[in-house]
Symmetry: C2
Subunit: 359 residues, 2 copies
């Protein structure tokens, strides 16, 4: 049975001041009326109903997760005692799924991406399950056709095309970590590379077997956690064993080493990881002056700005350009749009100034 | 007896979003804990106690005036039914003062200027009253030594110096309306010119006589208003007669035509009309990066900005320069600091966008 595993471990303040340490991006409404984690949960329905939806999150975000996803059964919100990247996260979900269903298949996806349309996403899931149905040992990952030579994503080089119905599927020749611009440009121009968007479909048993083969230190811990499933000792056991696992991505722990088993499915949907405020013009097309505005704005002689406010607070600008302006009730950001690293530096300064409660 | 007449007719939105149509500049705390009108009222005390302090304001601002100056007797807050510039305002105050005291002397001053130190201001008042004591027909105005060739102020050219004790006093050779930059530079370089700051001292009867001589259409109206003083018909009469007066400044109506009677007193105090956000660096010295900030701010790689917020709302900036950023609970301004006319244009745009409630 196919089950959804939503990885909601994201923290951080890349969307400060809208995102805060206690309220990272997955809990924000970036587009429309739903938060990103609500969109993630809805995205695979009705193919995967909510009683087969699992969330893996951190202790700091368990309450907000439960509040935003009231229909997800409480025991399906897995609370990691600490962050250990995606490999332990996937492993933890796998042993939970297998406890009830030895044939469980997992759709693993981050909680904080924007994907549209949903129908195309569901086509991709259908194709992935078909591929796995034909060869249960395959690990399917979704590849995104690169739009520009990004140095921020990992790349997947496709190999031989295999038979598929709804979208192209390929064997994988190589994985490439975040490249420099020259390499990235080569990759994009070759037409053979996809962005690795961190969305996977596989049988729970297959990924556990692969973890055991390539990262046995993870499965050793998982085997000590497994007997506690469904018992009173669950959270306590997790708190002892989970921190012992290495912090490693599922890509490094398994996929790069098991590339023979991996298939890349060319995503038929639009995808955005919404990595920074600079992503907004991709989600909300800019007006003729190059401005992307949300909420109550009055902009005059203003160009190429990203402005975000509420419907009850007016942001009025004149004679400015290339700014990011974000208003929230307790803090307002005004930053140079061109400098992608500005926000990180600013966050450090806010902390240094003793204003941590604002983060 | 010397009485204070504070002209609080100012309206407008030159300090938007902090100033609003219902809350113009005189009602704001620009420096310290008092609003500008409170500072104006306190400035001449104890020389002029509050029971000899009069306020002339508009109907839209009567309530706020009364609230901010609870010690000023209610019948000494004169409410103009419409704005008619300073000549009718001064005339109206003069007939009120004369109703109780035929020898009343008036200190007339705007409600929305910043003056310091108070002790020097009081010295100037003392000198002015001394000059008038020697020649009751004189009209004393305070002249400000120009700091730069402003094109926004009227200039007064001084003539022969007369005897004075606490500060220099001169006869007046000419009045010059707002000049162009070339003229303004000439004026400043000559060393003979002062800015006209709109602060005057004179006997109420003297200014009424001068109004009668040079602007009889004003005194005609005032004579029809005078019988209603202290009666139930006061406000009603004012509503009928006041609007009939021409809208003209006391400078144009009287001073420029009566220059033989005028003396200019070189102000011994610091003065600022706080005409725009750009004035703030004069009131609050900028830091080493050229930033003038009030309230809770975190500024990184930010230069030559004027930032104003509350203590409970963080403004965080990075990589920006020459901006004016002002946060209030309902609206935030982000504007180019270099363009002095930007705010006016922006206000028009806000109105055109149907957002008048934010003005």
């Amino acid at each position: 049975m196919l089950q959804a595993v939503i990885m909601a471990g994201g923290s951080g303040t890349r969307f400060w001041p809208q995102s805060r340490r206690h309220l990272p991006k997955q809990f924000l409404q970036m587009t429309g009326n739903q938060t990103l984690i609500q969109q993630a949960s809805d995205r695979s329905q009705p193919a995967i109903p909510v009683d087969r939806t699992w969330i893996v999150t951190g202790a700091a975000h368990a309450v907000e997760t439960a509040r935003q996803l009231p229909d997800v059964p409480a025991n399906q919100i897995l609370v990691e005692p600490c962050g250990r990247n995606t490999a332990p996260c996937v492993g933890l979900a796998a042993i939970q799924l297998l406890a009830n269903d030895p044939d469980a298949m997992m759709l693993v996806m981050p909680a904080d991406h924007v994907i549209s349309p949903t129908s195309k996403f569901q086509e991709a899931i259908a194709e992935a399950t078909r591929v796995i149905g034909e060869d249960p040992s395959t690990l399917v990952l979704f590849g995104i056709e690169p739009e520009y030579p990004s140095t921020g994503f990992g790349y997947i080089q496709r190999g031989e095309r295999i038979e598929s119905k709804l979208c192209p599927v390929y064997r994988v020749t190589s994985f490439r970590e975040k490249p420099d611009l020259t390499k990235a440009t080569e990759f994009v121009n070759s037409g053979e590379f996809y962005w690795n968007c961190g969305i996977f479909v596989w049988r729970a048993q297959t990924i556990l077997d692969a973890l055991k083969e390539f990262s046995p230190e993870i499965t050793d811990c998982l085997e000590r956690i497994r007997p506690a499933i469904g018992t009173d000792r669950w959270q306590e056991t997790l708190e002892v064993e989970f921190p012992k696992m290495p912090s490693i991505s599922i890509d490094c722990a398994v996929l790069e080493r098991a590339s023979k088993q991996v298939r890349v499915l060319e995503a038929p949907f639009e995808w955005d990881d919404v990595g920074s405020w600079q992503a907004l013009p991709r989600l909300f097309p800019a007006d003729r002056q190059g401005n992307t505005t949300n909420g109550l704005c009055c902009v005059v002689d203003t160009t190429d700005c990203i402005i975000r406010t509420r419907e009850d607070h007016l942001i009025a600008t004149i004679g400015v350009n290339d700014l990011i302006i974000v208003h929230t009730p307790t803090a307002t950001l005004v930053a140079d749009k061109q400098d992608e690293n500005a926000l990180k530096k600013l966050i450090a300064a806010i902390e240094a100034q003793g204003l941590t409660p604002y983060l």
